[in-house]
């Protein structure tokens, strides 16, 4: 691999990283686990003048309990998310999604925050983060701000993150006791999803109390299936009601529309089961 020439910087605090980003200008790029950026550098599709490696910012690593929500550090690797007890207990969907990301090598290098900032609509973490109403905690020259997932994902490979900002944490509300499932259709193990559906369902006494459904790779960003979610509420947690609601995942007659409906049905069935 021979990327274009770049300056390499290794900050040791968030403030230093933010300052470096400002100094290097908008052609600088933050590198986290490198699992998306490095292939792009390899093909010279991007030629940042400086890479600011935030691998030394240990405060961005790990999952913390923050009352009603979890704070997942942006530099937490997929491998760490997979094995985290807080995630297992309060955000099961994220663990199930993370289990399907690429292969063990990539899960040891790739980071939770890096995937979200890369904002590939085929990336597995976008749809569940959107569906779970997560909030992005961002640092910039002007201090810290919070942006909802719905506002964060703007377009293909585009987020609300300004060139001089860094994602610090992702605040995920607790979904304790919710059922969850990620239904993913990909052609070979290392391939991205053609379509995938992330579903979390809260069932009380055989009735669906609440549902969250996000679709991967059906648009220029993650798509939340709000029609499906609202149709489910109050229905008995049975195959028939799920099937009818899943039909609202898409109205088109193309292949991906079909997959959206079929996989939504399967994801919900598994989540309820």
């Amino acid at each position: 691999m021979i990327p274009a020439d770049f300056k390499y910087l290794f900050p040791s605090t968030v403030d230093e990283a933010v300052r470096m980003l400002a100094e290097e200008g908008e052609d600088a790029k933050v590198i986290a686990g490198g699992q998306s950026l490095v292939p792009v550098l390899r093909m010279r599709l991007a030629a940042p003048t400086a890479l600011i490696d935030i691998g030394g910012l240990t405060e961005l690593t790990g999952v913390r309990d923050d009352g009603d929500s979890l704070l997942i550090g942006a530099m937490t690797t997929h491998y760490e998310v997979q094995r985290d007890h807080l995630v297992q207990d309060h955000a099961l969907l994220l663990r199930l999604v993370t289990d399907t990301i690429a292969d063990p090598q990539i899960r040891h290098r790739g980071t939770f925050g890096g995937s979200l900032c890369h904002a590939d609509p085929a990336g597995d973490l976008l749809a569940p983060v959107l569906a779970l109403d997560a909030v992005m905690v961002i640092a910039g020259p002007g201090g810290r701000r919070e942006v909802s997932a719905a506002e964060f994902f703007v377009d293909y490979f585009t987020t609300a993150l300004a060139p001089d900002e860094i994602l610090l944490d992702v605040r995920v509300p607790k979904y304790t006791g919710w059922g969850a499932h990620y239904e993913k259709l990909n052609r070979v193990a290392q391939a991205w999803s053609i379509v995938a559906v992330a579903a979390a369902v809260q069932v009380r006494d055989g009735t669906i109390a609440a549902a969250r459904v996000g679709l991967t790779n059906v648009g220029s960003g993650p798509v939340r299936a709000t029609d499906v979610e609202s149709a489910l509420v109050g229905l008995p947690a049975t195959a028939e009601s799920i099937s009818a609601a899943a039909g609202r995942a898409s109205s088109g007659d193309g292949y991906k529309d079909n997959l959206a409906r079929v996989l939504t049905g399967r994801a919900l069935t598994a989540a309820v089961g």
Binding site: M1, I2, P3, A4, D5, P39, V40, R42, M43, R44, L45, D120, P121, A122, G123, Y156, F157, L185, N186, R187, V188, A189, Q190, A191, W192, S193, I194, N217, Y255, K256, N258, L259, V262, L263
Partner: protein, 808 residues
């Protein structure tokens, strides 16, 4: 010297190559660093067909570390034309094939400029500073459209038709007239199949290093064919062959993709000569996919005639084969390698094969694992299923009705080949037993009846192929530019150790292990005492290299003959040493003895006596070495029965192979572990053609599958556990009884998989699905819609980025 107690042949030895490969102790071409070495980087055309109106290298030349920037004009006088060794017909159209484009580019990926720099980094940076102006020419991509000659790939040829090659059983005297059979037939079926374009995707990207010191050129290359490369480089450049040494160090896979004389090899040599400095070029994966030759890419129109009882009578094959933009080493001959195999294991009365080779503005095609034979096997095995459906006969029964019975061997086919041995009944019986054929048919019926979302299909492939390329006289008759013999030498060292030199050139096959096993048995020496040298024209001065499942059947036979020569001389000397008549000398377990006495000399004793030469029989030369060159008098014909059970999710179109049985008859097996490995890898590649892999282009002729994010090579997780077994009918054409196994898995598996998917869906109205059978294609077929042919929905990830943008 210890005798080998149990025979080495047949032993599942771990490969002696693997420790150094796995622990990184070997040296690949790209690891070679020479003092003063320069690095070459290649600028490739982003457009498929254009006139080059201007190239400005001034900015690039001024960049740090740049020694030289060169364009086609700099080489126009000296580069000649890359060789094509297989002019299949007398009137074949053959375009000039420059290594670097001079005024016109004919495929996206063709070389337009070179940067020579002090580091690979500087070289890559300077590529971006070269400005090339292109004037677009019409792009020819579609085979049938190309034949209309509205737009031409090579204007000077006046046509896109390269050549037409015909075999006709009536003309050859090997059968009747196919048109007569079709006219008189009770049933005629006609189908068209598309063999998609594939990329060999060897693991080690190509790499070349050239050193010229004191007028001697040494070329290291990640190639399958060091001997052929030396000959061809000499022919093209005029550098005397004895001043050229080619070394193929450990090479990481080829699959036919490194059976080539590449533009980059030639250009590295020319640059090293020009600059009198060592030069290295190593490609990236994307560069490899954009420029290393591709495989397959044919349209097959097949007509088959039969009687209502299922007996086949006539077979007519009309092919269009995509050459790409140029004829590389054996490009035009690849489809011809299939010409003799469409009739396969079946007894047709008449056969006609017509292949039209066509130029397009795409990467040249050439050999890829199976080369011509997978295409033939696919077509015939698909047709046998189609005929079974047409006549409502069980698909295995219709094959059985038509195949050559074991008692009929040797059998001369309608294509004129003589199959020496085989037993299709035995392989099939074993495969059906392992597979649980009847139980799976019952399960299939249950799912059909219940309308299960996941349907089950069973696919059959009862294949044969031709290996052991090849009898030289046959190659001559086919107008191939070289012979098909192979050579081996044995050097007995004074301490009793053995050096074996082979003209084959392994690139992952395990020849060092297998050759050692053969020699250990023949000479009664320990396996560990044998060293196998290969891939260097200075130590192995002649050979025809490795491809076409030839190495063991041809090269192994040469080795057996060389060992026989060693033993013959040693026997004479042993008799002299033991003062007995040569006829009384027995050789067992590495020791010569006088029959009926306890007098004995080990081979080691005899070798030492030959080496010191103090007391040799009158006229005997000192030393105990032998050379042998073997030219086969027939091909070898592996065969077998592959059975595939696939589940098809009718809601998503996803195909999952749930059981795969391969029973292969590859003749006598020297090392079962290596044979299993070859079968497993072959299956992976054959299944990949059925389900995953396809090189696609946009309407401008740009390759849209130039990374492994887009070109889907399956990994272990995507493939089922393979159930493999063997039947053994030794080849009669060589003393080892070996037939070859390098390509069998690939050749057999593709139709088994496709047949299984169609078998799962036929009752739902699906008649055919193009390869690769992606979930979208399967689902589209289930909707009763036409395949748009537009390829896949964007799979996202790197697949949704334009991966063509850069090549470093």
């Amino acid at each position: 010297m210890t005798a080998t107690a149990e025979p080495e042949v047949g032993k599942a030895r771990l490969r002696k190559e693997d420790a150094r490969l796995i622990t990184g102790q070997t040296r690949w071409t790209d690891n070679i660093r020479l003092t003063g070495m320069l690095h070459m980087a290649v600028l490739r055309s982003p457009v498929a067909h254009a006139r080059i109106t201007n190239i400005d290298v001034s900015r690039a030349t001024a960049m740090p570390g740049i020694a030289l920037v060169l364009t086609g004009e700099d080489f126009a006088a000296e580069q000649g034309s890359l060789p094509c060794a297989w002019p299949i017909t007398e009137d074949m159209k053959s375009p000039a094939a420059p290594a670097i484009a001079v005024d016109t580019v004919n495929f996206a990926g063709e070389i337009v400029a070179l940067v020579i720099a002090d580091s690979a980094y500087h070289a890559a940076d300077a590529l971006e500073a070269i400005d090339v102006d292109y004037e677009d020419l019409p792009v020819v991509l579609d085979l049938e459209e190309a034949l209309r000659d509205n737009d031409l790939v090579h204007a000077d040829l006046g046509t896109n038709k390269c050549a037409t090659w015909v075999f006709d059983s009536a003309e050859a005297g090997s059968g009747t007239n196919v048109e007569d059979e079709i006219a008189a037939a009770e049933v005629v079926i006609e189908r068209t199949f598309r063999q998609q374009r594939l990329i060999p995707a060897f693991m080690e990207p190509r790499s070349v290093v050239v050193d010229c010191t004191a007028g001697m050129y040494t070329v290291w290359s990640a190639t399958q064919i060091p001997h052929i490369l030396r000959w061809m480089l000499s022919a093209v450049t005029g550098i005397s062959e004895h001043k050229l040494r080619v070394i193929a160090p450990d090479v990481g896979g080829g699959f036919g993709g490194k059976l080539q004389v590449t533009p980059e090899e030639l250009l590295c040599l020319l640059v090293a000569r020009r600059m009198n400095r060592p030069v290295k070029w190593t490609e990236s994966r994307t560069e490899s996919m954009l420029s290393a030759h591709h495989g397959r890419d044919q349209l097959q129109k097949i007509t088959m005639s039969a009687r209502r009882d299922g007996t086949v009578t006539g077979l007519k094959v009309e092919l269009l084969a995509d050459m790409g933009a140029y004829l590389r080493l054996v490009t035009p001959g690849v489809p011809i390698l299939g010409a003799f195999m469409f009739n396969a294991i079946y007894k047709f009365a008449a056969y006609r094969f017509v292949c039209t080779n066509v130029f397009t503005n795409k990467v040249p095609t050439d050999a890829y694992r199976g080369a011509g034979r997978p295409e033939a096997t696919f077509a015939i095995e698909r047709m046998m299923d189609e005929l079974a459906v047409e006549l409502d006969i069980e698909p295995m029964k219709i094959r059985e009705k038509n195949w050559i019975r074991h008692e009929e061997f040797p059998f001369t086919t309608v294509a004129g080949l003589t199959y020496d041995s085989g037993n299709y009944e035995a392989a099939t019986a074993r495969a059906m037993e392992l597979f649980g054929y009847d139980e799976l048919r019952e399960e299939q019926a249950r799912r059909r009846e219940s309308g299960d979302v996941v349907q089950l299909g069973i696919g059959i492939s009862t294949y044969t192929e031709m290996c052991g390329l090849a009898p030289s006289r046959v190659l001559g008759a086919l107008r191939y530019g070289a012979g098909g013999w192979e050579t081996a030498s044995i050097r007995m060292l004074p301490t009793g150790k053995v050096e074996v030199i082979t003209g084959t050139s392994p690139h992952g096959q395990g020849h060092e292990t297998v050759w050692s096993q053969i020699v250990a048995d023949k000479l009664g020496v320990p396996f560990e005492d044998v060293e196998v040298l290969h891939g260097d024209t200075a130590t192995s001065h002649k050979g025809m290299d490795s491809y076409g499942s030839r190495s063991l059947a041809v090269g192994g036979t040469a080795l057996v003959h060389a060992a026989d020569k060693v033993l013959a001389k040693a026997r004479t000397l042993a008799a002299h040493m033991m003062e007995c008549d040569e006829a009384d000398v027995e050789f067992t377990s590495g020791s010569f003895s006088v029959r009926g006495t306890s007098t004995a000399r080990t081979l080691g004793d005899v070798v030492l006596a030959a080496h010191v030469a103090h007391d040799l029989p009158e006229g005997m030369e000192p030393g105990m070495d032998a050379d042998a060159t073997y030219d086969p008098d027939n091909f070898s014909y592996p065969h077998g029965t592959h059975l595939c059970a696939a589940e098809v999710d009718t809601e998503t179109g996803m195909v999952k192979i749930v059981r795969y049985v391969a029973v292969d008859d590859v003749g006598t097996v020297v090392n079962p572990l290596i044979v299993d490995g070859q079968v497993h890898g072959g299956l992976a590649q054959g299944i990949a053609q059925a389900l995953y892999e396809e090189a696609t282009h946009d309407e401008m002729g740009t390759l849209t599958t130039a990374t492994f994010a887009d070109y889907l090579v399956p990994c272990a997780a995507d493939l089922p556990a393979f159930l493999t077994d063997r039947t053994t009918t030794p080849a009669t054409s060589n003393p080892l009884g070996a037939k070859g196994v390098g390509e069998a898995g690939t050749i057999a598996s593709t139709p088994a998989v496709v047949n299984s998917v169609l078998d799962a869906l036929r009752h739902l109205g699906v008649r055919d699905i193009e390869m690769p059978m992606s979930p979208e294609r399967v689902w589209t077929a289930l909707q009763g819609r036409e395949d748009s042919g537009a390829g896949e929905v964007a799979a996202g990830g790197l697949g949704s980025i334009d991966a063509q943008g850069g090549q470093s």
